[in-house]
Symmetry: C2
Subunit: 549 residues, 2 copies
């Protein structure tokens, strides 16, 4: 039986892992990564499906650990190629997946709900779902009883001893598996550098209560739309303070609805305020739940902060809570939003100054608990950059774990288990699959997919715009340079119209005083891409370059 971690970007074994034995192949998770700033024109990074394609006839199922983008975001792309393969997940995970598949036009996907504690038999595997705590409900670890032995995948987890909902990570079941005998443990390494434990989700409610007590006017809370426990705590705080709740941001609106339907959130209809009614509610009676906790330029919070939101404008006496921690790479975006909100007079609260966020990934002591319970023969630290895997290694060694039975893999590593032993085989292809998007929303499902080959076939447009640094106004006409874009009819006329589309986009953004370069570029890409797709049916890469003058 072989295990092959297959993605994501700079992190090992996060987006997708393949298990393969004579009787068939299964995948654990099908997620995507986000590009770093060195990848212009690229919106998403998918794990490489080459290995999966090479063994397509053996593929028997995809097993999802939880509903985060980096674990389910690639599913539409996978199902587009392998429409027959069944997908197993917990109830909430599948509910979050369904809208994605709909937006991609994938019908008739075989989605099979599994409850924590339940097992699935397929292709000679027995997969057991085990409840864990994470920053999204209905997350599971997966215990794979394979021909070679029992391999446990932690998925993303922490150990929360006073959880909001769903109970603590199923330590008893993990202990029982450990007693049976665990061949290998593939464990979450995200917080391997962090000593101690991560705090319980419950500490956030104390922080929220204190802030709600003091807030003189409106309260705006930004959170990940998938963090239903966090949202639940905001709802409870709102109830305690007799405030109503409005929701803004597409994915937040959608997820709050899903959560209410499934019973994760209990918000009476009388408590909900429609977005268009927001300005009729007295400030002291209102909590606004919003997306944008990562400073994403087009998100609701950013637009609230820079006054481009349709209905909500930040003002003095607003209290803003950013109930999330910037993912590495997003620190400056978040800083920009904080500065904008503060400049407009809002009182802004964020971690670590206030404990309005706790991590969803286990720290060192929790990692030690897992190793103590599972007592695996082999440890494979995953879900982290090399440095995180290394620290997980160090933590295990500090407990006496033999170094020769810890594997630090790369994506594409093949680890073979046979007769109770593990060894590395030759690596398989595991590059990255880069996707350029033409439109943007809060999730990947708005992206138009192009195959790597098509990226070259449809060519590229470089747009150079000179803008006034202070006002964001366009200076002179933008320059549009095309390469590899073949359009036989009226190429000059097309280029001229493209220039007009970009000019008009920039006049619009100047009118809204948008000087966030990320936003400007997104606007240009969105508008120009639509224009070119409408006019020519082609989707070249659009590369906007802003020169401030």
């Amino acid at each position: 039986m072989r295990v092959v971690p297959l993605g994501g970007l700079g992190e090992i074994g996060k987006n997708m892992t393949a298990l393969r034995q004579a009787s068939g192949m299964i995948l654990i998770d099908a997620g995507l990564s986000f590009p770093d700033e060195e990848m212009p024109g690229i919106d998403l990074v998918l794990p490489d499906f080459t290995y999966v394609r090479e063994h397509a006839s053996e593929l028997r199922g995809v097993f999802l650990t939880h509903g985060h983008e980096d674990h389910v975001g690639a599913l539409p792309y996978l199902l587009r190629e392998f429409p027959e393969v069944p997908v197993y997940g917990t109830r909430l995970t599948l509910e979050l997946v369904r809208p994605k598949l709909r937006e991609f036009g994938i019908k008739n996907a075989e989605l099979r709900e599994v409850r924590p504690g339940e097992r699935v038999d397929t292709a000679g595997y027995t997969l057991e779902f085990i409840h864990v705590n994470h920053s999204i409900p209905d997350a599971v670890a997966i215990a794979a009883h394979t021909a070679a032995g029992l391999v446990v995948f932690s998925g993303d987890y922490k150990i929360d001893l006073t959880p909001i909902e769903g109970g603590t990570t199923d330590l008893s079941r993990l202990a029982a598996l450990g007693s049976q005998g665990v061949l290998a443990y593939f464990g979450d390494s995200t917080n391997s550098e962090r000593p101690g434990y991560v705090p319980s989700e419950r500490v956030v409610s104390n922080a929220l209560r204190d802030i709600f007590d003091e807030a003189p006017g409106r309260i705006i809370v930004a959170s990940f739309a998938s963090h239903l426990h966090r949202i639940g705590q905001v709802v409870e705080a709102a109830k305690l303070h007799d405030r109503l709740i409005a929701v803004t941001g597409r994915s937040m609106v959608r997820n709050v609805q899903i959560a209410r339907d499934l019973g994760y959130l209990n918000i009476p209809a009388s408590m909900m305020v429609e977005q268009h009614e927001i300005n009729n509610i007295p400030d002291r009676d209102l909590v606004i739940l919003t997306t944008g906790s990562q400073g994403e330029p087009l998100s609701a919070l950013s637009r609230i902060a820079n006054e481009t939101h349709k209905t909500i404008r930040v003002r003095q006496d607003d209290t803003v809570i950013i109930a999330a921690h910037p993912i590495p790479g997003n620190e400056r975006k978040v800083s920009r939003v904080i500065n904008d909100l503060m400049k407009r007079g809002a009182d802004v609260h964020y971690s670590p100054l206030k404990p309005v966020h706790v991590s969803g990934h286990a720290a060192q002591e929790e990692q030690k608990i897992m190793l103590s319970l599972l007592k695996p023969r082999y440890l494979v630290p995953v879900h982290g950059e090399y440095r995180h895997l290394r620290h997980h290694f160090n933590t295990a060694v500090s407990m006496g774990f033999p170094t020769e039975r810890i594997f630090l893999l790369e994506n594409g590593s093949q680890l073979e288990f046979r007769a109770g032993e593990a060894r590395r085989l030759q690596n398989v292809p595991a590059g990255m699959f880069l996707i350029d998007g033409a439109s943007f929303g809060d999730t990947a499902s708005d992206v138009v997919v192009r195959e790597r080959q098509q990226l070259s076939a449809d060519g590229m447009f470089v747009v150079v715009a000179r803008i006034n640094a202070q006002s964001g106004e366009l200076l002179g006409a933008p320059d549009v340079i095309s390469r590899g874009f073949v359009y036989m009819r009226d190429a000059d006329g097309l280029l001229q119209e493209a220039i007009e589309v970009v000019s008009s986009t920039l006049q619009e953004t100047a009118r809204h005083h948008i000087t966030d370069w990320g936003e400007l570029k997104n606007s240009i890409r969105r508008d120009l891409s639509r224009f070119l797709a409408d006019r020519t049916g082609k989707r070249p890469i659009i590369l906007p370059l802003i020169v401030e003058v």
Copy 2:
């Protein structure tokens, strides 16, 4: 008397501040900022000299608080325009400035050394230099006795009660000024969000000693080349462990020499190892001091990590200490270096896991001490983003400071002091002055200056290269697109040669297995820019775009 903060990028009153009264104008500091990732083709950001130019005839002096780039980096550009203006600074500050001026070909600059405790009279001002602790020696606060009253500028400071050298921040003198009566205090806000005190520099020596005790082989320490106290602690640890010292990285080599010449570092000649001798020294006898603590792609540490350094290759049994904290925006670069070093088997130590770095900027309690000592009538938080100014404001208010006497300014704000009162006048121009570099080194002095107007006049080259994601190899010929670049002779031939230059650069980087996109771009820019300058005398903006396939 008016005070006008003039730069830098996203931070207020950091790079340069102008003071203007009837009898003349002076500047405090002349530093630069580094661009964020939204500014392609731009290497440096200077404060806007417009205000200075408008009152050029009144300019009487530039007073430098300390030798960091964000306080002295713009001096060559300033002196190029105003060659007569005297520059006042402490001994080390001027020693660090001299090589910059030399590299810019600025001769006959009027550099006047001032000792902490000394005063300078000019243009109706008396400027007093007051010793403070910072992450570079010879840093001062500046007390400006002006026609309107006493205004104190903290510069960058902390309060280190067990400093390595130079004594603690001169609390007595600050108290005396407070007793005299301080009209306004312009105070460092960098660490305004941080409660408590920052630790003394001395805690680093304990951490170093522990790590040195355990190190089985070579020890490589990356630090800011200007942090002479930090370097001094590394030297002391090396002495304690009978290790020799080698130095790599241009600015580190230069600064260690300056520090030895001025007596900041005591390294006997017998302890120094030349770079070319490094491989002759037994591993356990060696400490290598290097640049690259911010993960800069072309720095010595990065090249050591990715095996492109001429003499030093990281290996198993190496102990690497990154004695710095990533400046916001650099987190991923530093992470990349840490991962590379760990993958090659090195043991890597970094803050906050090990206390091998402490901040050079005052935290909240130190800010309160300053306010208690100076008892200023007005507080102007500076040197920070808006959020940092805001938290400095909050800290002052928590001590009972009246809110109406705290000013939160922007760059370009004019604050007028008259008859003991302060008020805002209309803002003056204070945009950003963007500089595109043609060659790269560890400091700004390698940069060829072009005026903003010239940026457009010499045009732009966009280079698109498709490279193999795994190997870094160039796929097909690179695409070179020029715009606004006027070269009458043999334009086609030139373009073809440009393509060859870029191909050859990329073949070279592939040979060295460089897949760091930042490095690839820097290499392309450097080589193509040299080629175009040699061939045509022009210096267009070079914009490399890497598409991974």
